[in-house]
């Protein structure tokens, strides 16, 4: 000790202090690493509630989760309909206020992937334009239809995932409050119900144009299950590591159309047979007030009143897609 002490004595005290401090820093870093490792496991477990896609069924052993988040969702930004017009006018009045409200919820208008941003917002693709003074407006109204496309990218090292996506529809409405126009989240239960029946989502669509579209795979409970083992990856350039999930939506103009065009035995089989059951089981999604009747004239009127109620209670609609277990 004393010889060591003497040899150390040839160093100065400062050097001695430094090396001890250095060791402390290394210790602290080790602690930090350890804590982070523990934290990582803890948070992974807690987030499993949301992203448990690594648990596989069907004869395979359950994977012990080191990666919980097994996929990312991406969005390809196409044409933006709501860009400002020449002269600085909002193309859709109030869109700025609406976007501010959505941004306040944490949604990004510029990100394209949940890898870089946790919450992304993008425009619904509407194929039906209203043309006025040489400008196309893409309002959602009865008769509109279009697509909603997202990409699912399994995390590296993950082969197949079964994604469960909750698809819920809501909206915002401008309301007068003490003579001031305020943008509020839609609260009318009637109108929120009506949205579920008037804007229908399907997983498949064939046909060359709107007139000839045939739909299949009605989403009835707001839940889309997507098993990547049942699908091929996208062949689009730059997206070959992703699965392209396209939903097709339509707002039928008349209830008569649904009535006449549902099921193989109908006049036309535009809509799949399950739509009949969906209507019968959820009449409040389709008809405004009188629902306990089979009188087609009354039902047509009630469906029409439903369109009116949506128009009066929603200025913007939102389709929220949330990964769930």
């Amino acid at each position: 000790m004393s010889t060591e002490g003497k040899s150390m004595n040839s160093f100065n005290a400062k050097q001695d202090k430094k090396s001890v401090t250095g060791r402390a820093v290394i210790l602290a870093l080790l602690f930090l690493a350890l804590i982070f490792a523990v934290l990582y496991v803890v948070t992974l477990n807690s987030s499993l509630g949301w992203f448990a896609q690594n648990r596989r069924v069907g004869g395979r052993n359950m994977q012990v989760g080191v990666e919980s988040d097994t996929y990312d969702l991406l969005v390809e930004r196409g044409t933006e309909y709501d860009t400002v017009l020449l002269g600085g006018d909002d193309k859709y009045p109030g869109i700025d206020t609406f976007k501010a409200a959505v941004a306040a919820l944490g949604y990004s208008f510029t990100a394209t992937s949940t890898e870089t941003s946790s919450e992304i917002s993008f425009e619904l693709v509407n194929e039906v334009a209203t043309r006025s003074d040489g400008v196309d407006y893409y309002y959602l109204n009865p008769g509109a239809c279009g697509t909603l496309t997202i990409y699912l990218k399994p995390k590296s090292g993950v082969s197949d995932v079964v994604a469960h996506l909750d698809i819920s529809i809501g909206g915002y409405v401008n309301e007068y409050e003490n003579d001031v126009l305020v943008l509020n989240e839609m609260t009318s239960a009637t109108a929120l119900d009506l949205l579920k029946g008037h804007i229908l989502f399907f997983t498949e669509r064939t046909g060359a144009s709107q007139e000839y579209y045939k739909y299949n795979g009605l989403i009835t409970d707001g839940l889309l299950t997507y098993d990547t083992s049942q699908h091929a990856k996208s062949t689009k350039p730059g997206k070959t590591d992703c699965y392209e999930i396209t939903l097709y939506w339509e707002w039928p103009v008349l209830y008569q159309n649904i009535y006449d065009m549902t099921g193989a035995a109908a006049f036309d089989d535009r809509y799949p047979p399950e739509l009949t059951d969906y209507v019968d089981d959820n009449r409040e999604y389709f008809f405004a007030s009188i629902r306990n009747t089979n009188d087609l004239d009354v039902l047509n009127d009630e469906y029409n009143d439903g369109d009116q109620a949506i128009g009066e209670n929603a200025d913007f609609i939102t389709v929220t897609i949330t990964p769930i277990q």
């Binding site: 001890v20 602290a28 804590i35 934290l39 803890v42 807690s46 949301w50 959505v102 990964p323």
Partner: protein, 245 residues
Amino acid sequence: MEEKNKKPKKNTFAVISAGYALLLAIVLLATSVYAWFAVGKRLISYAPVASPVSLFIGAGHREFDDVNHQFTDDHFEDIRYLYFNGIDVTADADHYDYVFCIFGKMVQNYKLQLAYTTNNQFSYSLYHATESTVASEGATAYITHTDTPQTYYYSPTGAAIAGSFLNDRTVLGETLADSTLHSDTYGAYSNVDKYVEPLYWQTTNNETGYLRGDFINYYILRVWINDKALNDRETDVICISAKAF
């Protein structure tokens, strides 16, 4: 020597405990951020919804924000407030002006139509009007039917709005309706006085509404006395209608 070594030991402990505190802070911070991230992975797709088309005829004034194309108040002046009072053909005035408005939402174009009987041999013309809170020469005053009545003044702008009759004829200097639209008005009923066969007049060009929001346009309906010289209590009916395109 030993005493010298004690000091750095204390320091080591201090550094480690400080490190611990720092770690705790980082742990807390990291946990909250990560938790938010985990539940926050969502997408929203949005779309503007078209409002149901609406087109109304009202009397004067409605509160309107013409920058944002929005009515700022639920109140509007009902068309029943359009009074054709105060016409005195014996006075000097050769015409009387009345204000009305067309308002609505999501209507790009519309046309106006007047249908009227011809007892008085008045003639009518329509003008676009501007609204002001200040009185001016030739302006028509309108007092709102609100809790606190406000007076607004409307002045015609430009020439009379172009239009044409669908069924007019001139008989001995009088403008009357011909029989072409009789059955549209009265069906099979034929016992109709010539002055009660209504004249139909429609604007030639489209009037402009606003597709992307609310709009309001004010009009002056000018009633020309023409040659009438006697207040003989004849009555006439005039209908104003608007149709969206």
